[in-house]
Subunit: 359 residues, 2 copies
């Protein structure tokens, strides 16, 4: 990949001094891929909130608008790609998504990845008044990367079977006009496992591990708009415990690999790809390899630095939690060859799901 | 170089959304070298001040102290190395240098590179009340990287001949207790040219180009404290026009290459090195190669984006200056293989100056 051919990305998300979430998880990988990255910090915190003890400043809507205005005046909003992640509060979020709307109007070719950071595993991280703002902004996005819980919040559909999954994806494509939808992770429950295409199903079935599915759906990949969206899926084994910043890294890598000028075509006999399924395959491959590296590192630490999650014990002894979090920060620096693609990793290829819309 | 062996660096300096100065010029290169870099932003600006139009927020002393306190409480001040650059205002600077003093007390092995960002080419960038704060903090530094003007301000010595140059360096070593002094750039005037060792002198003499000298002086490199400091020098051809962020990149690279575990010894017949002269040689080599790349890029732009500096015209038409600045942002991303050392660059080796103290 020629490092001079890739363009600019504007990344608007959180900054932490220590560790790798938000911009700290996204910017360095994109720079390694060869992008100039412009960086606007929506918060400046000491470390991520999972440590329990954290703090710093939130950038206000007025401060954000001030930066946007100066960049516009200086003609520095030159990016071909835009990445937005966590923004604290409805007012600041409106400012960021207002900029996204403006950039979309000025450049129909803009590739905008919106990661609607709302929550995970049934828990909302943000104030409920941000939800309608995200819904309103979806129309400007080229790609979105919600997890299953964020899909449910955005669409008001509880995904309990294939029909409700179809409905949620349809709403995102048709009502919210998002051409590329990635459900970054969804637990592989019985109904989903059963519905998977045979080649994906057999990869998962013989194992004792828990798996997460990742689903990508691209509408209008052909000129024929009556064609159903192209759906791809892959299953990834879960690693024990929680790692922070994984979604931020994944989203950055999806954007970084989407619609690149590629010199090689799909491998002979390989599955049909869309620009989205290729980008997600790359992002899954690299994110999972970094996670493995992080998991191995965490497992190698002295016992005091890897005590298991126990909310009661953590409450009594906050340092217990801090030590655990510290040992589980993403090993991005040590794994930079993975990001660059110069250290081979097991390829996590998204497989076509041709029967997805058939039921 | 094994990427898992290098440790952590805490970088405290300015942040700009667009372009490469301060932390944006320092952090990515250090990450490429294999360091985990913790990043505290002393300002969050749209772009550097050279554009004329710029703005954003300055981090207050209280906000900085808040971040430092949380990191300390969470035992996140784990770094073996510390890098401080531009800090706006005396109060914020006191907070930063107070942290440096504390980290030095807690860890005598800390490698602290203090870049005393005061001004350049006879012009002070900062309020005069920051000068005594820098002087007070010099005792905590392992390495400093002032330009000639900053040396004059810190030492109150005007460098007009070899004797005054000697005096300035002696003051920094003996009165301010800085073991490693780098004068990052000093114009190669007649008196300096004449004093250079013969092998450096012959490199420079036949050329029509302007040169800058870079001088490194390490005290106590042997156990014998009566030994004079070891002085090294190199001359680098000037490139036309001004580039921003060069000093920030250079300082980061000096810190990143200082006292590394090295597998190879000095080349056979090579000049005697100190850990400082090696680090500065590497930093000069990579900084100059990045500058060449940037210069070539700027020269390839359409004429409207590379109009020469003309203060009167710039005042009448601010966009003229903005366009020039934009085209001269460091090509760090495109030159990342230079930083990593995988793209060969002309080696700018610091040469010993054994006769330096003899006059």
């Amino acid at each position: 990949m020629s490092q001079t051919m890739l363009g600019r990305i504007l990344s608007i998300q959180s900054h932490v001094s220590f560790g790798y979430v938000g911009g700290k998880a996204a910017v360095f990988p994109l720079q390694c891929l060869g992008y100039d990255v412009d960086v606007i910090n929506t918060v400046n915190f000491s470390n991520h909130s999972g440590y329990g003890r954290f703090g710093g400043t939130r950038t206000t809507a007025a401060e954000l608008s001030g930066i946007f205005g100066l960049m516009e005046k200086n003609e520095l909003l030159l990016c071909e790609r835009l990445l937005t992640g966590y923004v604290p509060g409805a007012e600041a979020l409106s400012a960021v998504l207002g900029l996204a709307a403006k950039m979309r109007r000025q450049n129909t070719e803009l590739i905008y990845l919106l990661d609607p950071v709302l929550g995970d595993a049934g828990k909302l991280y943000v104030a409920p008044d941000t939800i309608p703002i995200y819904r309103e902004a979806l129309q400007y996005a080229s790609i979105i990367t919600p997890n299953w819980f964020e899909v449910e919040i955005l669409t008001d559909v509880r995904m309990t079977d294939l029909a409700s999954l179809q409905r949620a994806i349809k709403i995102l494509h048709n009502e919210y006009h998002v051409p590329n939808v990635v459900i970054s992770s969804i637990p592989l429950r019985e109904w989903l496992l059963k519905a998977l295409p045979a080649d994906v199903h057999t990869q998962v079935a013989p194992s004792d591990l828990d798996f997460l599915a990742c689903i990508a759906s691209s509408s209008h990949v052909t000129a024929d708009t009556s064609t159903k969206p192209a759906v791809h899926v892959a299953c990834i084994p879960c690693l024990p415990g929680y790692f922070s910043g994984v979604g931020d890294l994944f989203s950055a890598l999806v954007l970084g690999h989407f619609n690149l000028p590629r010199t090689t075509s799909a491998p002979a006999g390989g599955a049909p790809e869309t620009p989205l399924s290729y980008a997600v395959s790359q992002a899954l491959t690299k994110t999972h390899a970094i996670l493995m590296l992080t998991h191995q590192h965490a497992a190698s630490l002295p016992e005091a630095d890897r005590l298991p999650t126990d909310e009661e014990l953590d409450t009594h002894e906050p340092d217990r939690k801090v030590r655990r979090m510290r040992g589980r920060e993403l090993r991005l620096i040590q794994g930079q060859d993975i990001i660059r693609g110069t250290r081979p990793s097991l390829y996590r290829q998204m497989m076509p799901w041709p029967s997805f819309w058939e039921t």
